[in-house]
Each structure stands twice: as C-alpha cells, then as structure tokens.
C-alpha cells in the first residue's frame, strides 16, 4: 500500500451531510473486476449531465457546471472537505478507489461511516475527523480563498492552515502505522499464523459444526 506521511494539497468541497457510497461511485461502475479506473466516475451523477456507462470515455461527456468539483479553482485538489457521516451505505471499496483515482489523498469530515472509514485505511486514503465547528470554519476559509490548501501531517496528527494554525486530530494507532509505513495488513496478520492455528484448534473442539465442509 502507498504510504501517507505528510500531504499539502488544495481543498475541494462536497458540501452536504450523509454522502453515500452510491453517490461517490454509482453501481454501474461496480461491474468492473479491476481496482483502478474509477477516478473519472467519482460522483458521476453530480459531475456529468448524462448517465455514465462503465468502460466508456468520459472526456466528451457534458459536465455539470454547477458542481463545485468541476470548478477550475478546485482542479488538482487532493483533500476533500465534507460533512457528517461521509461514506454511508454500501460497503463498496470502489468508493475509496474512485476518490484515489480522482487524486484525493485525504477526506476531512466531522464523522465517517464505519465501513467506508476502514476501507480508506486499506487504500492509503486518510480520513480526518475534526469537530463540526472546525469543519464549518474550514468551509468558510476555503470558499473565501481561491487555491485554499492545507497541510496534513499524519505523524504529528495535525492539520496546518495557511495562517499557521494547527488543528490536532486523532487516528487509531494501527491504521496510522499501516498508513505511515505503507504496510500490507495481511502480511502483518500472517505473522501470527501460529496463534491463529492454535485458536482454530480450540474453536473447532468447541464448535465442530462450524468446520463441516459445505457440499454444494
């Protein structure tokens, strides 16, 4: 996995609460068997005026001029600023894949849905939880200043604003370490192979029916 240590990037808005993963990446794109290629279809139903099709070229599609992520001022943004309960709904990991594919490396919100949040950590995408008031202030500053950018330092767990203010945030230790080092958590788990085997033996003695082969 790609590591995340320190990021300086332009901030773009997704100014609504309860953004669901259907909105982040609509279902027709879930037909793909790849992990990449979802970037052009991020927020597809908001970003374009027509209905997107999987595996089609998006360069000629009519853009929704009212959708902020289409504004030139947010071009190249790598930090998405949004509101409560971002990523709710479906467990599709295509949501962080699409954000990643569109160049986003971090999402700042007052809260995230559980599955989305854990999917982010597996994909080098950092979910940053800040208090709702702080998020509100950042929205105001971002709208005020074209090219508004932030620094996110995961090692120090701070967001630095352009006027030198630092805002502390917390991330869970395991996820942070995996991100900082770019670690593959399957490899980490498999270091405990003997412990898992040992547990499995005891568990099988207690609940043998769990281990019956399913003959389909």
């Amino acid at each position: 996995m790609r590591a995340f240590q320190r990021l300086e990037g332009v901030v773009a808005p997704m100014d609504r609460a309860n953004v669901d993963t259907d909105l982040i990446i609509p279902k027709q794109f879930l037909k793909s068997i790849r992990r990449t290629g979802f970037g052009p279809n991020l927020f597809d139903e908001l970003r374009y005026l027509d209905e997107g099709q999987p595996d089609s070229d998006c360069s000629g599609r009519p853009l929704n001029a009212d959708f902020p992520l289409n504004f030139p001022r947010y071009e190249g943004a790598s930090i998405l600023l949004t509101r409560e309960n971002f990523g709710c709904g479906s467990s599709r990991e295509h949501a962080p894949w699409a954000l990643d594919g569109a160049g986003f490396r971090a999402v700042i919100a007052p809260s995230f849905a559980d599955i989305f949040r854990s999917n982010c950590f597996k994909n080098g995408l950092l979910p940053v939880v800040l208090e709702a008031e702080r998020v509100e202030q950042l929205f105001a500053q971002m709208y005020e200043t074209e090219g508004f950018s932030l620094v996110i330092d995961l090692e120090q767990q701070v967001v630095e604003t352009p006027d030198g203010e630092t805002i502390a945030f917390e991330t869970e230790e395991f996820g942070r370490n995996c991100l900082l080092e770019g670690l593959d958590d399957i490899g980490i788990t498999l270091q405990n192979e003997a412990v898992i085997r040992d547990f499995e033996r005891q568990h099988q003695a207690r609940c043998p029916w769990v281990f019956e082969t399913l003959e389909v």
Partner: protein, 476 residues
C-alpha cells in the same frame, strides 16, 4: 457484570487483542458474490497466497444477474452486457481455481446471498460471518456476529481466516408491546432509522430486543437486522430463542444428531445476560408504530403513512434545511404534502430486505383478486431465491401477482441496486421494498420510496401510497 450477546460473540472469536485497541477476530463463514470478490482473488493471486480455510467460504452470484426467465435459461451466455458477463464468469473461475463451493446461477438454491445463507444453514447462530456487502447484518437475526466488509477485508479473510477489528459499542433497541395489525418488521426498521438517524448506530452493534421483536418471525427479524446498517450499525443482532432453533433445524447445512445437541446447548446461551450493561439504549412503543414510507433520499427521511412531507422552514440547522430542499427537489415533492398524495409509477417487491416467502405472502394477500392501478407502468416481484420462488409457486402466489398485472421474475438483487437491466428511468417514482432511497440508487434520476411488501402492494392497487389496513378492510 453480565455480558451482552455481542460481548459473548466477540469473546468467543477473539484470537488476539492488541495493545493498539485492534483485535484479530476469527471468521467462521465468508459469503462471496461476484461484485466485491474479483479484486480480492486477484490480490490473493498476485501475492501468491492460498485461502486459509476453503470450507469457511461459500459463493453465489446475485447482484448482477438477469432476472428475466429467457435470459436466465441460457446461463451466462444469456447475459447480454459483456462487462457483467465477465464479472459473473470471474466468480465461477475464481471458485473453481480455489475450490470454493459455489451455488451456480441456475441452481434452485441460488439467490440473494443474504437469503441463501440462512435458508441453507450456511449461516448459523453463534458464527462470525462476513461478506463484501453492507447488508450482511441480516444474519444477525440468528444471533450471529455478521457484518459487511470491503474488498481488501474480503482478501484479508480469504488469506488469514481472520478480520482485524476494534470492538464496537453495545447499543440495545427495544421494541415493547404489541404491533398493530399490518405493521411489519420493515416498518419497525424504518421507524428505528427515523428515530436514531442514519448515523445513530455508527461504531455500534445494535441488539434488537423487546416483546415486539421476539414476536417477529425469523424473516421479520432478518428484515430488521438487514437495515441495522441503514442506522449506521455494521452489525444487528437478535437473541436465540425456540423460533431461531426451529428455523435453523430445518436447513440443509444445520448440524445433525449429537452435533445438533452440542450446538443447541451452546446456542441457548446466545442472549444478553439480565445484568448486561449497554452503552446506549432506546425503547420504542410497538403500538405507536404505523406503516412507514420514506419521502426523501436517505432512509432516515421517513414518516408514517398518515404523515406529511416536512417543510424546510421547520428544520433547525442550515445543513438540515439545505439537505431537505435538495431531497425534495430530487424527489419532485412539495413541502407539507400528504404521503397519501404521492403516486408511484413503479412497484418493486424484492431485495435482501424483503424477498423471503413471508414477504411474498404478505404482498399476495393484499393483491389477491385485484389489479395494479392504471398509473403503474411496471410492477416487479423478484423472489429472493430459487427456493422462495418454488415455494411461492407451490402456494399459487405467482398467479396472484400475474393476475394483478405484475411481472414474476427470477431471483437476484435486481432493482434494489439496479446493476442489471432492472432499473428506474430518470424521474420515475418507485414504491420499493428495498433498503436504500439514495439518489440514483435504483437508476439514474430514479426516485425511491421505501415501504413494506404489504404497503408496496397497497400502493400498487391504489395507485398512490395508502394505509394497507384500509385496503385490507375494504376487502374483508
């Protein structure tokens, strides 16, 4: 101090607790389907890893399959969309390569993964269950710790037999008293989401308790746990009782003989202790719950059938007001209008929430001897599995639907998420028994109102949302 049901399930699967607050949890069963597994198998392959325990897994295609009999009869060759066909073929290929048991497309047991699992006894009480689908919470109805995971986690469970998790909080939602006639598990689920909000259960496992929950059938409990995720909770749970054991004992993969006795003894301990402490508790009065209808673009945007669409000026915050305005604009509704004045164009009865035999019976009971209203342009009934379909046909329910002017389809996820050809056209309004009314969920520009199967059937007959109890009374 006593333990909650969730505590018991967690502790019995705890491989290792780490200092950083995470834990390794042993996974008893992984359910696989075509949409969220290909990248996981690819990851396994690229890393040169083998599945930890093949028998932990069972696969079935459901999300992306056609529900049309003609196309289904041709198997994979009948899948017109090439991208979809490749995805379905990839599931077959991966299962063959790794020797993972798969219930194939036209097997009578094929169906929506969350219908097939309990029906086959592939998911049992006391198990830890995962699937790359957020509605895995469904299986908690059997007192299993079941939750949805992402594709990287699917790969992790395939490779290690374990999931890295942090322990969730204990949240109990009790529904006490007697449910009014015509009010179902779906209405309870929607009322709870309306009460606590779509993020109300974030970070929690919700145990559903109380006399009204105990009074639900297993199908009703599955509907309730299915929608735990719409309240933000990754897992929903209901304690084991006689009904759970009766249901499980009739499934093909249930343990038999001495193993059953051993399992039953253990399963009977799967309830929260009387002195267990919950981090949060909410109590609802069952008698006060009416049939529910969502009016907006989030499941928490819900009200009773006797209610009205809210007005933006009644909202307390700017974000809430803007959210409401956006939802009403998307849904094409007027502030303050009566729910009963909303007229759907399409009826969808199906999905992992409401496609079990009880759901088919409830809808058919309303539709028997009636016709779908003239303003309804399409009405789909999609059974949750081949076995549900077979049972419904044995009871003549398919004929009731067809006589009413509805289409009786082959099993699959269908218009719940509209990955296949079953989808709404822009602007179309649907009375749907599914679980999500998000923008575009059932098709680009489509408008979804979530209801119970009986309420969807009532709307089909009346041509507008109406209290199913009025329709039933008029008949009797």
């Amino acid at each position: 101090m006593g333990k909650t049901l969730y505590d018991k399930l967690w502790e019995s699967h705890l491989v290792e607790a780490r200092d950083d607050g995470t834990a390794l949890i042993y996974i008893d069963r992984q359910l696989l389907h075509e949409v969220t597994s290909p990248q996981a198998f690819e990851g396994l392959r690229l890393a040169g890893r083998q599945p930890w325990r093949i028998s932990a897994n069972i696969a079935v295609p459901d999300h992306n399959v056609s529900t049309k009999a003609k196309e289904r009869a041709q198997g994979l060759a009948g899948v017109k969309d090439q991208v979809s066909r490749i995805q379905l073929q990839t599931l077959d290929d991966n299962c063959a390569e790794y020797q993972i048991p798969e219930i194939p497309l036209n097997d009578v047991r094929q169906g929506i993964v969350h219908v097939m699992g309990p029906e086959q006894g592939a998911t049992l009480p006391g198990m830890t269950i995962v699937c790359g689908d957020s509605h895995t919470s469904t299986h908690g109805a059997m007192a299993a710790l079941a939750h949805g995971i992402g594709t990287s986690e699917v790969e992790h469970v395939l490779a290690t037999g374990c999931l890295i998790q942090r322990k969730m909080k204990n949240f109990r939602v009790s529904v006490e008293g007697e449910l009014p006639v015509g009010v179902t598990g779906k209405d309870i689920a929607l009322a709870i989401v309306g009460e606590i909000g779509t993020a109300g259960g974030t970070g929690c496992a919700i145990e559903f308790a109380g006399s009204a929950v105990r009074g639900l059938t297993m199908e009703g409990r599955m509907t309730l746990c299915n929608m735990a995720i719409e309240a933000g909770a990754r897992a929903g749970l209901v304690a084991v009782d006689d009904q759970t054991l009766r249901y499980v004992s009739q499934t093909p993969f249930a343990p038999r003989d001495a193993q059953w006795d051993q399992a039953e003894t253990y399963w009977r301990t799967l309830h929260s202790d009387a002195d267990a402490v919950f981090d949060r508790e909410v109590v609802l009065d069952a008698a006060a719950i009416q049939p529910q209808v969502t009016w907006g673009t989030s499941p928490e945007m819900v009200t009773a059938i006797s209610g009205r669409v809210p007005r933006p000026e009644d909202m307390e915050t700017d974000t809430a007001r803007q959210g409401l305005e956006r939802a009403l604009s998307y849904m094409g509704l007027e502030p303050g209008m009566l729910i009963t004045d909303i007229r759907p164009d399409v009826i969808f009865i199906g999905s992992c929430t409401n496609s079990r035999i009880e759901d088919m019976r409830a809808a058919a009971a309303v539709l028997k001897g009636k016709r779908v209203a003239a303003n309804i342009t399409q009405a789909l009934v999609v059974p949750g599995s081949g076995l549900v379909k077979k049972q419904a046909e044995a009871e003549g329910l398919d004929q009731v639907f067809k006589d009413a002017g509805m289409e009786w389809r082959e099993p699959g996820c269908s218009m719940c998420l509209a990955m296949n050809a079953d989808k709404l056209e822009p602007g179309q309004r649907c009375a749907s028994t599914s679980n999500r009314n998000f923008e575009g969920r059932q098709g680009f520009g489509g408008r979804t109102h979530l209801v119970s199967p009986a309420m969807a059937a009532a709307a089909a007959v009346a041509g507008h949302f109406t209290d199913v109890r009025d329709v039933m009374e008029a008949t009797s």
